[in-house]
């Protein structure tokens, strides 16, 4: 009864909080400086500007959008906006009734207002999706769901603040190594408590990540330099290599932590249930667990990494760029990430198994931990 009541309080408070956040983001126009327009009617017609559509097989559409300004000094006034887009919506968006868009007002001192659309107001969708996920997590996991979200949120906030060091001139790889140490220590202890089990997982994670990165460095230094010119969202070309390495380091961290904690919990659990279990038996149990998780975890990385490049790949293929070039020139980065991440998963299995056994069985040799 006590537990049901406690859960109910948790559900209700989370629900009320999320409801509030959603109501806020759906009505927060006055907090923005840029004018926001809610579109009341959208009139879409095939474009008749022949010059634009003659050299193209795609149809171009023109939109006349009528809307109301939701904030700023012009609040409440109607405005007519123009927009055009191609049917595939590759670069330009189409808009419809009910959409809210940011605009910049054209400052030609005429009597009627005119403006250009700069983008859709997406904050409400961000909050809506986040709330849905949090609700799902809390229903399934109760308090632990909340803790998981808090941990992820703190991780990203700390990371974003640490990047200030990079701005101030510290090497990005150094920043990311420090960040990774923090992520490992914090995530594992925050979600699993401070114990020998967690300590074993932390140690295994650090060791596996280091080994994986070492292997990658050796391979990278002994082969043709990768061209980073086509990296997504490239901003600091001089640092591209270091940023790429840092991305791989952080990307592999989650899966390696996952294996390390799974392994050390399992070994710990077997030992607890049967204190007289032999090292050999522990070892073979660990191998079975490793075999079971290996395949599907590599699968996770395959789809997570490679699928991000799908729209780009299709655009490139449509431009008659041969698939071999796409893989080797335009998007080898996703494939490298996948390969290194998988190598990390594989290395983490024996490493965390040995360390977990050392921590449970080698107590006599590791007495300084007491």
């Amino acid at each position: 009864m006590q537990i049901i009541k406690k859960n109910l309080i948790l559900y209700v408070s989370v629900f009320v909080l999320l409801l509030g956040a959603n109501i806020f983001t759906f009505h927060n126009h006055s907090f923005y400086n840029n004018p926001i327009v809610r579109i009341d009617s959208a009139d879409t017609a095939p474009s008749n500007s022949a010059s634009k559509s003659s050299n193209s097989e795609e149809s171009l559409y023109d939109q006349v959008l009528e809307g109301r300004i939701m904030n700023s000094v012009y609040k409440g006034q109607t405005i007519i906006l123009k927009n055009s887009f191609f049917s595939s919506e590759l670069y330009q968006d189409s808009f419809s009734k009910g959409d809210e868009v940011f605009i910049t007002l054209n400052s030609q001192g005429s009597t009627s207002l005119s403006g250009t659309i700069t983008g859709l107001k997406r904050d409400k969708y961000v909050v809506l999706l986040l709330s849905a996920l949090l609700m799902l997590l809390v229903f399934l996991e109760k308090r632990k769901g909340l803790l998981t979200m808090i941990s992820l949120f703190l991780n990203i906030t700390v990371f974003y603040s640490l990047l200030t060091w990079y701005q101030d001139g510290t090497d990005i790889l150094t920043v990311c190594i420090l960040a990774s140490l923090f992520f490992t220590l914090f995530s594992l202890t925050f979600l699993n408590g401070f114990s020998r089990k967690t300590l074993a997982a932390v140690l295994s994670t650090i060791l596996s990540v280091t080994t994986t990165m070492a292997i990658f460095m050796v391979v990278m230094n002994n082969s043709r330099e990768i061209d980073f010119a086509y990296m997504e969202y490239l901003i600091m070309p001089g640092d591209a290599r270091a940023i790429f390495l840092s991305g791989i380091l952080i990307g592999g961290l989650g899966s390696i932590m996952d294996i390390a904690i799974t392994m050390s919990s399992a070994i710990n659990e077997i030992q607890r249930k049967n204190p007289s279990v032999t090292v050999k038996a522990l070892f073979s149990s660990g191998r079975t667990i490793g075999d079971d998780i290996m395949g599907t975890m590599i699968n996770v990385l395959l789809f997570t990494y490679v699928c991000g490049g799908i729209p780009m790949t299709i655009l490139l293929l449509k431009n008659d760029i041969p698939p071999a070039n796409i893989i080797s020139v335009y998007m080898p980065y996703e494939i490298y990430r996948f390969l290194i991440g998988s190598i990390g998963i594989l290395l983490a299995i024996p490493v965390s198994l040995v360390i977990s056994i050392l921590f449970t069985k080698g107590g006599k040799h590791l007495c300084f931990w007491h």
């Binding site: 193209s56 002994n222 699968n299 780009m312």
Partner: protein, 257 residues
């Protein structure tokens, strides 16, 4: 370099995984081929959404049925993955349409690689975006679902007398242990992938308001969220279906025949 890494990966799989490693390797290769196949079919003009759903069904079938054949375990996982895919397909399409995630963001449009490319591709980029979201999450859903079904099956083997409700709750409890680590895995994988973008936000001094309203952020965000949500949904789905398979008289009879 690509070749060297592939070689290391294959060697490690065989070394660490043994026989089971060989099976994983075959499944993995099949999935790579299927994934490229789907992308190629979309390029060739097949409608992205049906192609993706069909492709994901084949990927799930290969990943689940190849290693252990058709059993109650793999069947339960297969059915629950199907349910999750259909649910996510519908919601990603609606959400993607509402929030205009189709095509490329302004950040991506300015890149070198975009220069000189014809944009006349006659493919609905919203469909492609929804297809991408579904394909990104299929690996994670399969992982979550397999973990639940194999652990729950072990529980049933050890205590065959458990009823439907008891088994289901046991499945949810196992799910709680899995979901924390799975969200962690996904979170860091996406964080590592988006590192360049995050650095860009930082250096160009994007405000929080500009970040969360931008298309480029939303495109990454929706992938993470849908991957996470689909893993969470897969847990009760798999737990329930497998519990029914293991306790309902009709399915028990079928096995003994």
């Amino acid at each position: 370099m690509l070749l060297a890494l592939v070689l290391i990966l294959v060697l490690l799989i065989l070394l660490i995984g043994g026989d089971k490693g060989a099976t994983s390797l075959i499944t993995l290769t099949a999935n790579c081929i299927l994934l490229s196949g789907i992308i190629f079919l979309i390029y060739a003009g097949y409608p992205p959404l049906p192609t993706t759903v069909a492709g994901c069904i084949i990927i799930s079938a290969v990943t689940l049925f190849y290693p252990e054949g058709i059993s109650k375990k793999s069947m339960a996982s297969f059915l629950s993955v199907l349910i999750v895919i259909v649910l996510m397909m519908a919601s990603s399409y609606i959400m993607g349409g509402e929030a205009n995630i189709a095509g490329f963001s302004e950040e991506a449009q300015l890149e070198d690689e975009m220069a000189g490319l014809s944009t006349n591709i006659r493919t609905d980029m919203l469909d492609v975006a929804a297809a991408m979201i579904i394909m990104s999450l299929i690996g994670a859903v399969l992982d979550a679902s397999v973990s639940i079904s194999s652990s729950l099956y072990e529980v049933h083997q050890n205590h065959p007398v458990m009823g439907l409700a008891e088994l289901f709750h046991s499945g949810i409890r196992i799910g709680r242990d899995i979901i924390g680590t799975t969200t962690n895995t996904l979170f860091f994988a996406y964080l590592g992938e988006s590192l360049m973008l995050i650095i860009r936000f930082k250096i160009e001094g994007y405000s929080l308001a500009r970040i969360i309203n931008s298309k480029v952020f939303f495109q990454e965000f929706i992938r993470i969220l849908f991957s996470g949500a689909s893993c969470i949904l897969a847990i009760p789905a798999t737990a329930y279906i497998l519990s029914v398979f293991l306790t309902h008289p009709r399915f028990i009879q079928r096995e003994s025949r």
